[in-house]
């Protein structure tokens, strides 16, 4: 028998009221936990995706659109840049590795990324981590043939030049195995279908990045798509170039030089992601403020609920006082009760918050290829829990003072 026994009994005696007040705390905590977790986890996830690239070079315009397109395989495809820029960058002494990419087609929500096999052989998808095949092989790729296709005169007929329509698919592209074939649509899932069929050559191991839901095709095949051949806009052009430079100084130097020119811009993906999250941070703040308000209202409802119960508990308090309980003891019991209700709600909220995060993680993984760990416990959740328990204690102070002032003789009198 301890004070906790009394607290537990008091809570159990008012089951419905206790459950409702705890549930309102749980709701607030769940939203706070989910917002904090999704914010941090997705930020981490987006950063991870950007680690493997120093620079992304694309058409002048929105750096965010360029990064979302090339690194995260999101957003509408940007305009193109001349293939010559890629060739120039590839030859630049400051560049360790350059990989061209061309986008614009989709298969069941997955973006087709036309690229070279060097993306898999030499690029690091994240720092220290290269792409690995789970099964099959890489698509066949011949840079010379690509060069020929991209630099041929507009009226050049490619008949007789057999294109390789092969693909390597990310780990989260469901339903495609080596040997599977698929057709793509132009501009999105509701765009016109291309006639060509690609054969899956290999499936990549999961990387925990947006690449897991992308379909990589031989860049040459991109330019053999009949509708692309017909479109003047694609001729001799690519969407972007992914660059790995020979150091931070080289990256800065190169970016400055490219951005000074009229044809393209170079962006540092990690910097763009920071800007993106500054924007998202404002939305997070609003969400956090709303959920803090929910918790505050829950705290007030605990105060009201316990305060209203004090009239019916006056006799019980007087009995405890008659048995020798000090005023501070009954004060502690009420404050502990309010804190316990908040703690219960807080723990339930943590659980619910992680479930919400898990649901959000599935959506983020499916839509953005961002891997999250929804069950990972974060240090700031302890702060939230501590804050909620403190709020409960504060909410308990007013009814506790009423308990503190209970007069034993009055409380025990038959009329009370």
């Amino acid at each position: 028998m301890s004070l906790w026994t009394i607290v537990r009994k008091n809570i159990a005696q008012r089951k419905l009221s206790s459950a409702l007040t705890s549930a309102s705390v749980a709701l607030g905590v769940a939203v706070v936990v989910a917002v904090l977790a999704i914010k941090e986890e997705s930020r981490e996830g987006f950063r991870q995706g950007a680690f493997g690239y120093d620079l992304v070079v694309g058409v002048k315009g929105s750096p965010l659109q360029l990064v979302l397109n090339t690194v995260y395989h999101l957003d509408a495809p940007p305009e193109n840049i001349p293939f010559g820029i890629y060739e120039k960058l590839k030859a630049d002494r400051r560049v360790r590795l350059a990989v061209p990419v061309a986008v614009g087609d989709f298969f069941e929500g997955h973006r087709l990324v036309g690229t070279s096999d060097r993306l898999f052989r030499d690029f690091e998808v994240q720092k220290g981590q290269k792409f690995e095949l789970a099964e099959g092989r890489l698509f066949r790729f011949d840079e010379e043939r690509l060069r020929h296709v991209l630099t041929a005169p507009p009226d050049h007929e490619h008949e007789g030049e057999e294109a390789v329509f092969e693909a390597v698919v990310g780990a989260r592209v469901g339903g495609l195995r080596p040997g599977s074939t698929f057709e793509a649509r132009h501009g999105g899932d509701f765009g016109p279908a291309h006639e060509e069929k690609w054969t899956v050559a290999g499936v990549l191991k999961p990387t925990g990045t947006a690449n897991d839901r992308a379909i990589f095709i031989n860049l040459e095949s991109f330019y053999h798509i009949k509708t692309h051949v017909a479109e003047e806009v694609n001729r001799g052009k690519i969407s972007a170039v992914l660059l790995q430079t020979k150091g931070a100084h080289a990256a800065r130097d190169l970016a400055w030089e490219i951005n000074k020119g009229p044809e393209a811009m170079a962006v540092v993906p990690a910097e763009v992601v920071v800007e993106l999250f500054e924007l998202i941070g404002k939305v997070d703040l609003v969400l956090l403020a709303v959920s803090a308000l929910v918790i505050l209202v829950a705290g007030i409802s605990i105060l009201v609920s316990i305060y209203n119960s004090m009239a019916e508990r006056r006799r019980a308090i007087a009995i405890m006082r008659a048995l020798g309980a000090r005023r501070t003891t009954v004060l502690s019991i009420v404050i502990l009760e309010a804190s316990a209700l908040c703690a219960l709600g807080g723990f339930a909220g943590l659980l619910l918050g992680h479930l919400l995060t898990a649901a959000a993680a599935r959506v983020l993984a499916a839509r953005a290829g961002v891997a999250m760990s929804p069950l990972a416990f974060r240090a700031d959740e302890l702060l939230v829990l501590g804050g909620v328990v403190l709020l409960g204690a504060l909410a308990g102070v007013v009814p506790a003072l009423r308990a503190y002032r209970t007069d034993i003789a009055d409380g025990l009198s038959p009329t009370s």
């Binding site: 028998m1 301890s2 004070l3 026994t5 009394i6 009994k9 008091n10 159990a12 005696q13 006799r315 019980a316 009995i319 405890m320 006082r321 008659a322 048995l323 020798g324 309980a325 000090r326 005023r327 501070t328 003891t329 034993i408 003789a409 025990l412 038959p414």
Partner: protein, 210 residues
């Protein structure tokens, strides 16, 4: 009690020149309605403090103690039996007894069980008050009052809510357990059959001249 006076809102309720109840005595306090019987018990328990005079229990002038020490003294030295039993409803019989020990900071489950056994409720320890008869509830209250081995047991109309037969049995038990433990027993009652079973009866109306 020495020179004790107590009143409410300027109206005197109790005035006692000197009253000494010997250690181990079994004493009945009676008096007509409004004679201050409950006030008398509350003064003895340290629940109320007199406007003047001294209340000494087991050698300690309790009205001179600071409130927190008076609470502790009450928990350790005084047991209470009420007319309406005053058991906590959400607690079992045993928990109600242990609650009496909690505030004296000496919770002893085995003693709680043995006390309930002593008052004939061995097989009702896990029952809540609502599951017990009124006689059984008063027995739990007696066990609770004895929990901390007090020096003084105060009983305020302990048979007021019981039928005569049950009342007789409860008074008999109360006297018996106090005799066994050597506790001083002070019973406030206006029931003649209760008074008849005690040797020492003090009429508060006569004592305070009201």
């Amino acid at each position: 009690m020495e020179g004790v006076r107590k009143g409410y809102n300027g109206t005197p309720v109790l005035s006692i020149g000197r009253l000494e109840i010997p250690k181990g005595a079994q004493w009945v306090i009676t008096g007509r309605s409004g004679s201050g019987k409950t006030t008398f018990l509350n003064l003895l328990a340290g629940i109320l403090t007199p406007d003047a005079g001294t209340v000494t229990v087991a050698g300690t002038p309790i009205n001179l103690l600071p409130e927190a020490r008076r609470d502790r003294f009450r928990a350790e030295k005084i047991g209470f039996v009420f007319q309406t039993f005053n058991l906590l409803q959400g607690f079992t019989a045993l928990e109600n007894v242990l609650l009496g020990m909690l505030f004296a900071r000496k919770t002893d489950r085995a003693r709680g069980e043995s006390l309930l056994d002593r008052v004939g409720l061995k097989d009702r320890m896990g029952y809540r008050p609502s599951e017990l008869s009124v006689g059984q509830q008063q027995r739990v209250a007696i066990a609770r009052a004895l929990a901390n081995r007090p020096e003084l047991i105060l009983a305020d109309e302990p048979t007021g809510n019981l039928d005569p037969k049950t009342g007789e049995s409860v008074i008999g038990l109360l006297k018996e357990v106090c005799r066994e433990g050597g506790e001083t027993l002070v019973v406030v009652t206006h029931q003649p059959q209760v008074m008849q079973s005690f040797k020492d009866v003090t009429d508060l109306s006569c004592l305070s001249g009201r």
